[in-house]
């Protein structure tokens, strides 16, 4: 349940550290964003010496929320924080690595918001954590 003014952590190495949600992309008066939704955000905190600047307006996709995500098969998953990944207009991520846990099924199956991210995101079920390389950028 991310709404404007929500502070989000950033889960990639694009350079941003903390974002504040400004707008949820979708319907005009959309109230809340969940995992897999795209938001417009402003950068509040950055990592030094990166291409992104503070108070720059960027687009991000939500990757983890504190509010439960309900799967169609009845599984309900809740994470520990609100986290997003910075992307650009076409849906390509700005960073090259994604940190932490991401729900695999939401990003590779039905929801086609990030069609261009061909990441090998491991499911939290397998109890693995760590960094994920974004394959199509061919950076290792």
């Amino acid at each position: 349940m991310i709404q404007p003014q929500t502070h989000l952590n950033v889960a990639d190495n694009s350079g941003a550290r903390e974002l504040v949600c400004i707008r949820i992309i979708g319907a005009s008066n959309r109230r809340y964003a969940h995992i897999c939704d795209i938001i417009v955000a402003v950068i509040k905190e950055i990592v030094l010496n990166t291409p992104l600047e503070r108070s720059e307006v960027i687009i991000a996709i939500i990757v983890r929320t504190h509010k439960e995500l309900k799967h169609d098969n009845g599984m309900i998953i809740r994470y520990d924080d609100n986290v997003a990944v910075v992307i650009d207009q076409e849906g390509n991520p700005k960073g090259t690595q994604i940190f932490g846990i991401v729900d695999e099924t939401q990003f590779t199956m039905g929801k086609d918001t990030i069609a261009n991210i061909k990441t090998s995101i491991r499911n939290a079920d397998m109890n693995r954590k760590g960094t994920i390389q974004i394959g199509y950028l061919n950076k290792k």
Partner: protein, 244 residues
């Protein structure tokens, strides 16, 4: 027989593209069933109980071929244990909480979830299995527990194995529950005399609640007076028309 040749074609259409091919080669079970109601399937799942040789209880997706339903294993589910109370969490129930260090907590219902959020320690909460095991209320060590093991490798489906497993599960379950209730019975045996003493004392103190004081003066035993009821023959004949 020809259906098996159709499998790769069918599945290529219906598989989600993230499906791992390696898992495929292990030999996932494919069944050909008549159409089953959803409740029947869930009952079937529930009756199997905890995991033994086959740790995965698959939630099947149904592909309809004419009047037959092909159940394809597209997802796999496991019967998990609630982190707080240790009861089994069936698929479709409960909440899973993933902490930032990738530790997963599964809860069977909101009661357990809320207790967790209150930061309660299950070993100190009396109704949980953790507490009971820790304080010796329930059986902890038994050979029947060794039959239940968690496995991450899927087993190649074998009908005989599955059949025998289901039979074994039932038997082992019965043995385990019998032993567990015996454990509790034995545990309660030692306090029997004490309990009887306390009951007797309570009766002596509170005899005025049970027996009228006049009756007590006449007959000072702690038993209730016996009341004799006369049943006449005429009454039983009157009851007979009621049966019609």
């Amino acid at each position: 027989m020809c259906l098996f040749q159709l499998f790769p074609i069918l599945l290529a259409q219906f598989l989600p593209f993230h499906f791992n091919e390696k898992e495929f080669n292990h030999g996932l079970p494919f069944y050909l069933f008549r159409k089953k109601k959803k409740t029947e399937e869930i009952r079937m799942l529930k009756s199997v109980g905890p995991n033994f040789y086959t740790p995965f209880l698959s939630l099947f997706d149904q592909l309809v071929l004419g009047n037959c339903v092909l159940l394809v294993n597209l997802r796999r589910m496991r019967l998990e244990k609630c982190w707080f109370c240790s009861s089994t969490v069936y698929p479709g129930h409960g909440i899973k909480f993933v902490r930032n260090d990738a530790k997963i907590f599964r809860f069977c219902r909101s009661k357990c979830h809320k207790n967790f959020k209150m930061k309660r320690n299950p070993c100190k909460v009396k109704w949980t299995k953790a507490y009971r095991r820790l304080h010796g209320k329930d059986m902890t060590q038994d050979s029947t527990f060794e039959f239940e093991r968690k496995r991450n490798r899927p087993e190649r489906y074998d009908r005989n194995l599955a059949e025998n497993t289901l039979k074994a599960i039932k038997k082992i379950d019965k043995i385990r529950s019998d032993r567990a209730s015996d454990h509790i019975k034995n545990r309660l045996k030692t306090g029997k005399v004490q309990r009887q003493k306390e009951a007797r004392k309570q009766l002596e103190l509170g005899i005025h609640l049970v027996k009228a004081s006049l009756a007590l003066a006449q007959d000072s035993s702690l038993c209730l007076p016996k009341i004799k009821v006369n049943v006449s023959q005429a009454q039983t004949e009157e009851n007979q028309p009621m049966e019609e």
